[in-house]
Symmetry: C2
Subunit: 154 residues, 2 copies
DNA sequence: TGTATAGATTATAATAGTTATAAAATAAAA
DNA sequence: TTTTATTTTATAACTATTATAATCTATACA
Protein backbone atom coordinates (compact mmCIF):
# COMPACT_ATOMS: atom_id res chain seq x y z
CA UNK A 1 0.00 0.00 0.00
CA UNK A 2 2.90 2.29 0.83
CA UNK A 3 4.18 2.01 -2.70
CA UNK A 4 0.83 2.75 -4.14
CA UNK A 5 0.53 5.93 -2.12
CA UNK A 6 4.06 6.78 -3.16
CA UNK A 7 3.10 6.50 -6.81
CA UNK A 8 0.05 8.66 -6.34
CA UNK A 9 2.26 11.17 -4.53
CA UNK A 10 4.47 11.36 -7.61
CA UNK A 11 1.42 11.82 -9.75
CA UNK A 12 0.24 14.69 -7.57
CA UNK A 13 3.65 16.35 -7.60
CA UNK A 14 3.80 16.03 -11.34
CA UNK A 15 0.70 18.20 -11.54
CA UNK A 16 1.83 20.68 -8.91
CA UNK A 17 -0.17 19.27 -6.02
CA UNK A 18 0.99 18.19 -2.61
CA UNK A 19 0.31 15.03 -0.69
CA UNK A 20 -0.83 16.57 2.57
CA UNK A 21 -1.41 14.44 5.66
CA UNK A 22 -5.18 14.85 5.12
CA UNK A 23 -4.94 13.61 1.57
CA UNK A 24 -2.75 10.73 2.64
CA UNK A 25 -5.21 9.74 5.37
CA UNK A 26 -8.03 9.84 2.83
CA UNK A 27 -6.08 7.70 0.41
CA UNK A 28 -5.26 5.22 3.15
CA UNK A 29 -8.94 4.82 3.95
CA UNK A 30 -9.76 4.34 0.29
CA UNK A 31 -7.08 1.67 -0.06
CA UNK A 32 -8.12 -0.12 3.13
CA UNK A 33 -11.72 -0.23 1.96
CA UNK A 34 -10.95 -0.75 -1.69
CA UNK A 35 -13.75 -3.21 -2.32
CA UNK A 36 -16.39 -0.94 -0.83
CA UNK A 37 -18.22 1.87 -2.49
CA UNK A 38 -18.11 4.56 0.12
CA UNK A 39 -19.87 7.90 0.08
CA UNK A 40 -18.08 11.13 0.96
CA UNK A 41 -19.72 11.11 4.38
CA UNK A 42 -18.61 7.54 5.07
CA UNK A 43 -15.08 8.30 3.96
CA UNK A 44 -15.08 11.40 6.14
CA UNK A 45 -16.05 9.42 9.23
CA UNK A 46 -13.37 6.81 8.60
CA UNK A 47 -10.70 9.41 7.93
CA UNK A 48 -11.60 11.16 11.17
CA UNK A 49 -10.31 8.15 13.11
CA UNK A 50 -6.87 8.74 11.62
CA UNK A 51 -6.96 12.51 11.48
CA UNK A 52 -9.65 13.82 13.84
CA UNK A 53 -9.22 17.45 12.88
CA UNK A 54 -10.10 16.95 9.23
CA UNK A 55 -13.13 18.71 7.78
CA UNK A 56 -15.75 17.28 5.47
CA UNK A 57 -15.02 19.91 2.82
CA UNK A 58 -11.41 18.78 2.66
CA UNK A 59 -12.53 15.24 2.00
CA UNK A 60 -14.77 16.45 -0.80
CA UNK A 61 -11.93 18.48 -2.28
CA UNK A 62 -9.54 15.58 -2.05
CA UNK A 63 -12.00 13.24 -3.72
CA UNK A 64 -12.58 15.71 -6.51
CA UNK A 65 -8.86 16.11 -7.02
CA UNK A 66 -8.29 12.37 -7.11
CA UNK A 67 -11.16 12.05 -9.54
CA UNK A 68 -9.59 14.65 -11.84
CA UNK A 69 -6.37 12.66 -11.73
CA UNK A 70 -8.28 9.46 -12.55
CA UNK A 71 -7.07 7.87 -9.35
CA UNK A 72 -10.68 7.17 -8.54
CA UNK A 73 -14.11 7.34 -10.13
CA UNK A 74 -17.18 9.07 -8.84
CA UNK A 75 -20.20 6.86 -9.28
CA UNK A 76 -23.86 7.12 -8.64
CA UNK A 77 -26.15 4.16 -8.07
CA UNK A 78 -29.25 6.33 -7.87
CA UNK A 79 -29.52 6.47 -4.09
CA UNK A 80 -28.85 10.17 -3.84
CA UNK A 81 -25.20 10.08 -2.86
CA UNK A 82 -22.04 10.00 -4.91
CA UNK A 83 -19.77 7.09 -4.21
CA UNK A 84 -16.07 6.82 -4.83
CA UNK A 85 -14.26 3.88 -6.29
CA UNK A 86 -10.50 3.54 -6.70
CA UNK A 87 -9.29 2.65 -10.16
CA UNK A 88 -7.23 -0.48 -10.26
CA UNK A 89 -3.63 0.16 -11.18
CA UNK A 90 -2.65 -0.72 -14.70
CA UNK A 91 -6.27 -1.03 -15.78
CA UNK A 92 -7.45 1.78 -17.96
CA UNK A 93 -11.14 1.00 -18.18
CA UNK A 94 -13.58 1.52 -15.42
CA UNK A 95 -14.93 -1.73 -14.07
CA UNK A 96 -18.60 -2.66 -14.01
CA UNK A 97 -21.02 -3.05 -11.13
CA UNK A 98 -23.81 -5.40 -10.15
CA UNK A 99 -26.21 -3.77 -7.74
CA UNK A 100 -28.58 -6.12 -5.93
CA UNK A 101 -32.07 -4.64 -5.70
CA UNK A 102 -32.87 -6.83 -2.69
CA UNK A 103 -29.96 -6.43 -0.32
CA UNK A 104 -28.14 -3.49 -1.82
CA UNK A 105 -24.85 -5.33 -2.13
CA UNK A 106 -22.55 -4.17 -4.91
CA UNK A 107 -20.31 -6.59 -6.75
CA UNK A 108 -17.49 -5.55 -9.03
CA UNK A 109 -16.81 -7.04 -12.42
CA UNK A 110 -13.20 -6.45 -13.30
CA UNK A 111 -13.00 -7.89 -16.75
CA UNK A 112 -13.92 -5.52 -19.53
CA UNK A 113 -16.95 -6.91 -21.28
CA UNK A 114 -17.49 -3.90 -23.46
CA UNK A 115 -14.77 -4.18 -26.09
CA UNK A 116 -17.18 -5.32 -28.79
CA UNK A 117 -19.82 -2.80 -27.81
CA UNK A 118 -17.31 0.03 -27.80
CA UNK A 119 -16.19 -0.93 -31.26
CA UNK A 120 -19.76 -0.68 -32.51
CA UNK A 121 -20.20 2.73 -30.87
CA UNK A 122 -17.00 4.05 -32.42
CA UNK A 123 -17.71 2.63 -35.87
CA UNK A 124 -21.44 3.16 -36.22
CA UNK A 125 -21.83 6.35 -34.19
CA UNK A 126 -18.45 7.90 -34.91
CA UNK A 127 -18.23 8.54 -31.20
CA UNK A 128 -14.75 8.50 -29.67
CA UNK A 129 -15.14 6.59 -26.42
CA UNK A 130 -13.03 7.79 -23.49
CA UNK A 131 -14.79 6.17 -20.58
CA UNK A 132 -17.86 4.16 -19.73
CA UNK A 133 -20.25 3.40 -16.93
CA UNK A 134 -22.02 0.08 -16.84
CA UNK A 135 -24.21 -1.01 -13.98
CA UNK A 136 -26.60 -3.93 -13.81
CA UNK A 137 -29.50 -3.86 -11.43
CA UNK A 138 -30.95 -7.20 -10.44
CA UNK A 139 -30.84 -9.94 -7.84
CA UNK A 140 -27.59 -11.37 -6.52
CA UNK A 141 -26.89 -15.06 -6.07
CA UNK A 142 -27.48 -15.06 -2.32
CA UNK A 143 -30.82 -13.32 -2.57
CA UNK A 144 -31.96 -15.68 -5.30
CA UNK A 145 -31.05 -18.63 -3.09
CA UNK A 146 -32.78 -17.10 -0.10
CA UNK A 147 -35.91 -16.57 -2.18
CA UNK A 148 -35.80 -20.16 -3.46
CA UNK A 149 -35.47 -21.47 0.09
CA UNK A 150 -38.51 -19.53 1.26
CA UNK A 151 -40.50 -20.94 -1.61
CA UNK A 152 -39.58 -24.53 -0.77
CA UNK A 153 -40.64 -24.08 2.85
CA UNK A 154 -44.03 -22.71 1.94
CA UNK B 1 -49.44 11.38 -28.48
CA UNK B 2 -53.03 11.35 -27.27
CA UNK B 3 -53.14 7.58 -27.48
CA UNK B 4 -49.90 7.25 -25.64
CA UNK B 5 -51.20 9.35 -22.77
CA UNK B 6 -54.38 7.29 -22.90
CA UNK B 7 -52.40 4.10 -22.46
CA UNK B 8 -50.45 5.54 -19.55
CA UNK B 9 -53.76 6.64 -18.05
CA UNK B 10 -54.96 3.04 -18.16
CA UNK B 11 -51.74 1.91 -16.56
CA UNK B 12 -52.20 4.42 -13.76
CA UNK B 13 -55.81 3.41 -13.20
CA UNK B 14 -54.78 -0.22 -13.13
CA UNK B 15 -52.62 0.56 -10.09
CA UNK B 16 -55.19 2.78 -8.40
CA UNK B 17 -53.71 6.11 -9.45
CA UNK B 18 -55.39 8.99 -11.21
CA UNK B 19 -54.31 10.96 -14.21
CA UNK B 20 -54.69 14.45 -12.80
CA UNK B 21 -54.33 17.54 -14.98
CA UNK B 22 -50.92 18.15 -13.41
CA UNK B 23 -49.76 14.66 -14.26
CA UNK B 24 -51.12 14.97 -17.75
CA UNK B 25 -49.34 18.29 -18.26
CA UNK B 26 -46.10 16.73 -17.05
CA UNK B 27 -46.50 13.79 -19.38
CA UNK B 28 -47.22 16.09 -22.29
CA UNK B 29 -43.99 17.98 -21.68
CA UNK B 30 -42.07 14.72 -21.47
CA UNK B 31 -43.55 13.51 -24.75
CA UNK B 32 -42.95 16.81 -26.51
CA UNK B 33 -39.33 16.81 -25.43
CA UNK B 34 -38.84 13.09 -25.72
CA UNK B 35 -35.34 13.26 -27.17
CA UNK B 36 -34.10 15.54 -24.40
CA UNK B 37 -32.86 14.59 -20.98
CA UNK B 38 -34.54 17.12 -18.78
CA UNK B 39 -34.01 17.70 -15.09
CA UNK B 40 -36.91 18.05 -12.66
CA UNK B 41 -36.38 21.80 -12.59
CA UNK B 42 -36.44 22.05 -16.38
CA UNK B 43 -39.56 19.93 -16.57
CA UNK B 44 -41.17 22.06 -13.89
CA UNK B 45 -40.53 25.27 -15.84
CA UNK B 46 -41.95 23.79 -19.02
CA UNK B 47 -45.01 22.39 -17.26
CA UNK B 48 -45.65 25.79 -15.72
CA UNK B 49 -46.43 27.18 -19.17
CA UNK B 50 -49.29 24.74 -19.45
CA UNK B 51 -50.39 24.70 -15.81
CA UNK B 52 -49.01 27.81 -14.05
CA UNK B 53 -50.28 26.82 -10.64
CA UNK B 54 -48.30 23.59 -10.43
CA UNK B 55 -45.69 23.18 -7.71
CA UNK B 56 -42.22 21.75 -8.02
CA UNK B 57 -42.94 19.08 -5.44
CA UNK B 58 -45.81 17.78 -7.55
CA UNK B 59 -43.49 17.43 -10.52
CA UNK B 60 -41.06 15.48 -8.37
CA UNK B 61 -43.84 13.23 -7.11
CA UNK B 62 -45.16 12.67 -10.60
CA UNK B 63 -41.74 11.79 -11.90
CA UNK B 64 -41.21 9.34 -9.07
CA UNK B 65 -44.56 7.73 -9.74
CA UNK B 66 -43.85 7.39 -13.44
CA UNK B 67 -40.48 5.96 -12.61
CA UNK B 68 -42.07 3.35 -10.35
CA UNK B 69 -44.39 2.41 -13.19
CA UNK B 70 -41.40 2.15 -15.55
CA UNK B 71 -42.90 4.80 -17.80
CA UNK B 72 -39.64 6.65 -17.49
CA UNK B 73 -36.16 6.18 -16.12
CA UNK B 74 -34.26 8.40 -13.75
CA UNK B 75 -30.72 8.86 -14.90
CA UNK B 76 -27.67 10.62 -13.66
CA UNK B 77 -24.82 11.79 -15.83
CA UNK B 78 -22.76 12.99 -12.92
CA UNK B 79 -23.64 16.67 -13.14
CA UNK B 80 -25.49 16.81 -9.85
CA UNK B 81 -29.05 16.59 -11.12
CA UNK B 82 -31.29 13.66 -11.89
CA UNK B 83 -32.61 13.57 -15.42
CA UNK B 84 -35.69 11.82 -16.67
CA UNK B 85 -35.99 9.81 -19.83
CA UNK B 86 -39.17 8.25 -21.18
CA UNK B 87 -39.03 4.56 -21.97
CA UNK B 88 -39.86 3.76 -25.56
CA UNK B 89 -43.06 1.80 -25.90
CA UNK B 90 -42.67 -1.88 -26.59
CA UNK B 91 -39.00 -1.82 -25.63
CA UNK B 92 -38.21 -3.47 -22.35
CA UNK B 93 -34.58 -2.59 -21.95
CA UNK B 94 -33.29 0.82 -21.09
CA UNK B 95 -31.44 2.40 -23.96
CA UNK B 96 -27.83 3.54 -23.78
CA UNK B 97 -26.34 7.02 -23.80
CA UNK B 98 -23.37 8.73 -25.36
CA UNK B 99 -22.38 11.83 -23.43
CA UNK B 100 -20.01 14.20 -25.19
CA UNK B 101 -17.38 15.54 -22.81
CA UNK B 102 -16.81 18.58 -25.04
CA UNK B 103 -20.26 19.96 -25.78
CA UNK B 104 -22.40 18.04 -23.31
CA UNK B 105 -24.72 16.70 -25.98
CA UNK B 106 -26.38 13.38 -25.19
CA UNK B 107 -27.14 10.87 -27.93
CA UNK B 108 -29.36 7.86 -27.47
CA UNK B 109 -28.55 4.38 -28.66
CA UNK B 110 -31.75 2.44 -29.03
CA UNK B 111 -30.52 -0.96 -30.03
CA UNK B 112 -29.63 -3.23 -27.16
CA UNK B 113 -25.94 -4.00 -27.38
CA UNK B 114 -25.76 -5.83 -24.08
CA UNK B 115 -27.39 -9.17 -24.79
CA UNK B 116 -24.09 -11.03 -24.84
CA UNK B 117 -22.77 -9.20 -21.83
CA UNK B 118 -25.92 -9.89 -19.86
CA UNK B 119 -25.64 -13.56 -20.64
CA UNK B 120 -22.11 -13.61 -19.23
CA UNK B 121 -23.25 -11.81 -16.08
CA UNK B 122 -26.11 -14.25 -15.54
CA UNK B 123 -24.03 -17.34 -16.24
CA UNK B 124 -20.71 -16.48 -14.63
CA UNK B 125 -21.92 -14.34 -11.76
CA UNK B 126 -25.26 -16.02 -11.15
CA UNK B 127 -26.73 -12.54 -11.07
CA UNK B 128 -30.31 -12.17 -12.29
CA UNK B 129 -30.29 -9.03 -14.41
CA UNK B 130 -33.42 -6.85 -14.24
CA UNK B 131 -32.15 -3.60 -15.65
CA UNK B 132 -28.98 -1.92 -16.79
CA UNK B 133 -27.38 1.48 -17.17
CA UNK B 134 -24.79 2.00 -19.83
CA UNK B 135 -23.27 5.37 -20.60
CA UNK B 136 -20.25 6.17 -22.69
CA UNK B 137 -18.33 9.33 -22.11
CA UNK B 138 -16.26 10.61 -24.99
CA UNK B 139 -16.24 12.97 -27.94
CA UNK B 140 -19.13 13.18 -30.40
CA UNK B 141 -18.75 13.27 -34.15
CA UNK B 142 -19.28 17.00 -34.47
CA UNK B 143 -16.70 17.87 -31.82
CA UNK B 144 -14.16 15.54 -33.41
CA UNK B 145 -14.70 17.26 -36.75
CA UNK B 146 -14.47 20.70 -35.17
CA UNK B 147 -11.19 19.71 -33.53
CA UNK B 148 -9.83 18.34 -36.81
CA UNK B 149 -10.72 21.57 -38.59
CA UNK B 150 -8.87 23.70 -36.06
CA UNK B 151 -5.80 21.54 -36.51
CA UNK B 152 -5.82 21.94 -40.28
CA UNK B 153 -6.05 25.73 -40.03
CA UNK B 154 -3.07 25.95 -37.73
C1' DT C 1 -78.35 14.97 -4.99
C1' DG C 2 -75.57 15.28 -1.01
C1' DT C 3 -71.97 13.26 1.78
C1' DA C 4 -67.97 10.44 2.89
C1' DT C 5 -63.56 8.84 1.67
C1' DA C 6 -59.26 8.32 -0.46
C1' DG C 7 -56.06 10.36 -3.18
C1' DA C 8 -53.65 14.44 -4.91
C1' DT C 9 -51.99 19.12 -4.71
C1' DT C 10 -50.34 23.42 -2.77
C1' DA C 11 -47.52 26.11 0.07
C1' DT C 12 -44.18 25.90 3.04
C1' DA C 13 -40.53 24.26 5.58
C1' DA C 14 -37.02 20.97 6.41
C1' DT C 15 -33.32 18.02 5.10
C1' DA C 16 -29.23 16.34 2.93
C1' DG C 17 -25.45 16.61 0.00
C1' DT C 18 -22.21 19.52 -1.77
C1' DT C 19 -19.66 23.79 -2.65
C1' DA C 20 -17.92 28.55 -1.71
C1' DT C 21 -15.54 32.01 1.28
C1' DA C 22 -12.26 34.14 4.17
C1' DA C 23 -8.84 33.64 7.52
C1' DA C 24 -5.20 30.82 9.23
C1' DA C 25 -1.72 27.28 8.58
C1' DT C 26 1.74 24.90 5.97
C1' DA C 27 5.37 23.97 2.91
C1' DA C 28 8.27 24.93 -0.88
C1' DA C 29 10.99 28.59 -3.40
C1' DA C 30 13.86 32.46 -3.59
C1' DT D 1 14.46 34.20 6.35
C1' DT D 2 11.14 36.07 3.73
C1' DT D 3 8.03 35.39 0.12
C1' DT D 4 4.71 32.90 -2.31
C1' DA D 5 1.45 29.54 -3.51
C1' DT D 6 -1.18 25.88 -1.84
C1' DT D 7 -4.09 23.82 1.42
C1' DT D 8 -6.99 23.49 5.34
C1' DT D 9 -10.34 24.89 8.77
C1' DA D 10 -14.52 26.75 10.16
C1' DT D 11 -18.38 28.50 8.69
C1' DA D 12 -21.91 29.73 5.82
C1' DA D 13 -24.34 29.34 1.61
C1' DC D 14 -26.42 26.89 -1.97
C1' DT D 15 -29.01 23.44 -4.53
C1' DA D 16 -31.65 19.47 -5.18
C1' DT D 17 -34.97 16.86 -3.13
C1' DT D 18 -38.40 15.36 0.28
C1' DA D 19 -41.70 15.83 4.16
C1' DT D 20 -45.75 18.07 6.45
C1' DA D 21 -50.13 19.92 7.15
C1' DA D 22 -53.98 22.07 5.25
C1' DT D 23 -56.80 22.30 1.31
C1' DC D 24 -58.86 20.60 -2.74
C1' DT D 25 -60.91 17.10 -6.10
C1' DA D 26 -63.14 13.31 -7.75
C1' DT D 27 -65.31 9.20 -7.31
C1' DA D 28 -68.27 5.93 -4.58
C1' DC D 29 -72.07 5.40 -2.07
C1' DA D 30 -76.38 6.29 0.55
Amino acid sequence: MKQRIERIKKQLHGQGYKLTPQREATLTVLLERESDHLSAEEIFLLVKDKAPEIGLATVYRTLELLSDLSVLDKINFGDGVSRYDLRKEGVDHFHHHLVCMECGQVEEVMEDLLNDVEKIIEDDWQFKVKDHRLTFHGVCKQCQEAAAKVKVNE
